[in-house]
Subunit: 342 residues, 4 copies
């Protein structure tokens, strides 16, 4: 195996974070996220957001964060609206249903939910014999690499407000989304346009961790109880926060995103030049070219990637994912390599 483009969580952590762990050594910290590093990481993120009136909790992974958030926000009989490709709908082994909530699924367009879909779901779920829609879940970047535009987010936010829905953004790959050349959204926009969102760390240079930002006051109360109740409270909470301190004390969080996107954009451009078609238009760190199965078989021992979907008898959609550790030279070598195979 020359290099894995399989995902963005193949390497432990960004070198700056490892170095910090080494520096900290046997420093003693208070447990359960009540320590100075968590406090400092929280402050740094709020500063980058330019938004003070929110709570931030650091959890371990994406499924866990979605599960705790949704379980905490919704009553028994309330449901969450999402597109059919949404992570909570497909790739969480029923974690959301496991805590009691139905995913009300729409088709979406390019991995993104539309205002009409949200309105329609609410119209169809009108009495107590059906679940009550109460939250819209969106991912940014989406599961197919696309991103929301600010105008879209404004519209969705307005619709949610009108319909009494919470708007929650899964930001597992938010760093890549906000660093995309097509992006016009800031962290401050998210504070103003969502009720809650999380800033993914695991897929963005930290060795674990998702920073869940609670904007809407209704969602804040006794949240630490919810975390512990779902087995999601870290005794060494500071471990997770130290990485966030490093990511946010200067511009590392966005640097990583820009770097990942650059690598992915390079791959996309070059593959397009070579005539490959793509499943979706992505300006983020996941790209989805369509490869011949024959080619896939030839290269799969040398490079790692994910097979997303068989399209027909001879072609499949595959995913290349770039990471903080991906080198632009590795990408160049891959393109040279692929040229020898086609």
């Amino acid at each position: 195996m020359i290099y894995r483009f399989t995902n963005d969580y193949s390497c432990f952590a960004h070198e700056k974070i490892i170095k910090r762990l080494l520096d900290i050594g046997y420093e003693q910290n208070i447990g359960y996220g009540l320590d100075r590093h968590t406090e400092n990481a929280t402050r740094l993120i709020k500063e980058k957001m330019d938004y003070e009136r929110c709570d931030i909790h650091f959890l371990v992974g994406g499924t866990q964060t979605n599960m705790v958030m949704i379980s905490s926000a919704l009553k028994n009989f309330e449901a969450v609206i999402c597109v059919d490709s949404g992570h909570i709908n497909v790739h969480e082994t029923g974690a959301i249903e496991g805590v009691g909530h139905k995913c009300l699924v729409t088709k979406g367009i390019a991995g993104k939910i539309t205002v009409d879909e949200i309105k329609n779901v609410c119209k169809l779920h009108a009495d107590c014999h059906m679940v009550k829609p109460k939250m819209v879940y969106i991912s940014n970047s989406t599961e197919v690499g696309t991103i929301y535009r600010k105008s879209e987010l404004i519209e969705i936010n307005k619709t949610c407000k009108d319909l009494g829905l919470y708007l929650y953004m899964d930001g597992a790959r938010l760093g890549s989304a906000l660093s995309s050349i097509d992006n016009d959204i800031t962290l401050n926009d998210l504070a103003n346009l969502t009720d809650a969102f999380y800033i993914g760390g695991t897929k963005h240079g930290n060795f674990m961790g998702e920073a869940l930002v609670l904007i809407n006051d209704e969602l804040k109360k006794e949240f630490r109880y919810n975390i512990k109740h779902h087995g999601a409270m870290l005794s060494k909470g500071y471990a997770c926060s130290i990485g966030y301190e490093v990511l946010f004390e200067d511009d590392l969080f966005f640097e990583i995103g820009r770097h990942e996107n650059e690598c992915a954009n390079y791959l996309e451009t070059e593959l397009k030049n070579l005539g490959f078609k793509f499943y979706s238009n992505s300006s983020t760190n996941q790209i989805f070219p369509i490869f011949k199965d024959k080619l896939i078989n030839e290269i799969k021992e040398d490079y790692g990637f994910e097979i997303i979907e068989r399209l027909n008898n001879e072609e499949s959609v595959i995913r290349f994912c770039t990471s903080f550790d991906t080198k632009i030279d590795t990408c160049k070598n891959f393109i040279l390599y692929i040229k020898t195979k086609i």
Copy 2:
């Protein structure tokens, strides 16, 4: 603050583990615990256990591990028997009830369950109008620092077999228990005398992680589904396993236990010499002296410890907990310090 004896998770990780993380650098690994480090850590633990026919899964924390294990092993209407001081009963914010199961509580003796108690609970829960007892949960070391003797474990195991109950051991502090001077139990004994147990990492030098060992075949099937369903699957699973490799590739796991116990034993002996009484007899890394409230107030800015229970108008039970990073000199200094206060 001179030093925190507050708990055994105040420091990130043992220096050997931090060093290993540094060595590994940007090595790429497969996600979700299917990597070489997890494979290797599993092999090393099995060797130390001298037991091959078990499955090992690495989870993040104790509450999460208990929740996933119990939820996976029990049917809807089945319950788990434990002593009233049991971690699942008191300190998991209802995580076990959250996944649907009642804790059937007994008084216990010195934090340990008795065979008679188990039999009695089963006798009282005899029809479908009550929950069905199906598991016995024990902690080793217990929440009050005591440990099970092999003869006790044999008896409990036999009772469980007779009554159709699973026996599950919470090993958050197993390293300290098995390294105690009073201990006569081996990892191999646990393989033969329990249906499942976990080997605590978080409180034993790793920066996170509990290695859940499934012995009984009935508990093994599709366990990874359970992990993911409860939001407990780490994408960077290898991160947790690397620590276990370090702990088990030589004798570090037991060395840490012995060291922790030595520090705690020193404190206990010296405090007894000074006339302090103790709440329980512990040969492990948690000790529970009874201090005057006046003394507590005098020293609490200089040393960290937990107040467990107010005994009367002037005395409280407190806990000192030693850790991999505790130095014997720190303990000596504390004793010198306390002499100046009494």
Copy 3:
């Protein structure tokens, strides 16, 4: 209001059942379904099924029965496949998700699931990052009034066996289905071709009650615990069974079905003669004509019916439902009435 065709649960109970309640008077019975009437109803149903090796439990309503059955049959991470119009998917206020299970939804054809859909869902859910399909849920008659043919059931049963899925039939309106002129399925067929099904009482002349028939041995064990655990055990269990005795001691169950269908078929034929189109082809007690909204408004004070779906700016699908108490003369009068309105 001249007459409600709104549903088949507008009247308390068939007159023979009310009479039996009167006869029984202050007879004392054992509680919780361990009484002679439950025993007798069970025997009578087994005789009608010509099948001995099953367990029968009497529950109160359809949603409850589905919830208890599915919760009991599936593990945490397992899911149930159903068509999008399936009662569990739409009209149970998330009861199935409430007990932790995802509904994997297919489009279906005329309210019925196809073998290809089942296979496809299983193919797409292939690893532990997704729920594991474990049950197929079908309704007979379906939510749009159609019924399964024996050949279809044989095929679905075979597919389920091949894929390791349970097949469960919701029989809220089974009496109408099995009494349809298009039906070629017997109760004995259901015993041989499903793992579990229920025989609806509430919508078929009893004042409450669904008789859940467990065929597959795997589903039988400790089922009464499940019932009680979900708050579904009746202290006066005999109350429900008495109705089933009356329904099954002679042919009343099928007589009611035939009568309901006759009334519905009459309405369907006559409405078709008058030029009305229908949303689905039903030979059971629910029919789905398409009415002009103007007409709906004119008649809705005189006759009860359900509005199912707005089709366009001037037409809607409505539902007429016949019941044990519906008189054929009432149907004739309605047709005369409708002629005056068009």
Copy 4:
């Protein structure tokens, strides 16, 4: 078997209720509790309560009512305080834990919770590592036949208010409690001193049904969603309400209670005269004499009763329960009978 004193749900329904069902015949009603009988029963109960600002929902049984109520009122991590003999703690097969909530158990005195116990539980559960107490559950009459005095209820209510707890009363046998010669509580008192309570029908002459009265506005919102979500919504909701109309349109509810108590008091007095000791002091329809096991064996074929607890090698606590159908002559005959056996 001459007569069963086993419980108060051995007979279908009071003759006046059966007669009413007969009178109603094939009258058509709207489903799901939106009918005229439910409206009327609600009005009648409110009049008897002399309290207008409450919501009343009719559910099927006690466990279901407790499960729906507690699940609706509490958040994930919140718990309910009750005495160890409380129905929710012992005899609901983990239904409360099944919907995610821990029962925090106290010893109680004579089946009743004390203010000190409530305060103590709250004091011990003070941070997010433990469940948060949020409700006090009491039964009236209690599981051992005792009743709360108004002064006790006032004190408990005050304590709950001070501590931010809901007070919920399980009234499975409220009719007997409020009709006891020792009772000084009215329905109006319950409206003023609890947040919610239910008026038991199943054990009080109706063939099913518990009328759940929601006083506190916080508990009312969207409650019908909760009912349906837990599979507890009756399509023939009117069936249950008809019985309540009969019970409350004149004084039948209280007449039944007085009659039951009279029978039980007679038995208690006469058995005491014969020298029998009792496990608890009951002025309600459950009495708990202590019988020799030898005597129990001699009479158990002729009279039904429950064996509650083996006291020692030769004696047991048994329960006699009187019902709306119990005749005073039957009680007299039993006393004559028992005289021949001792």
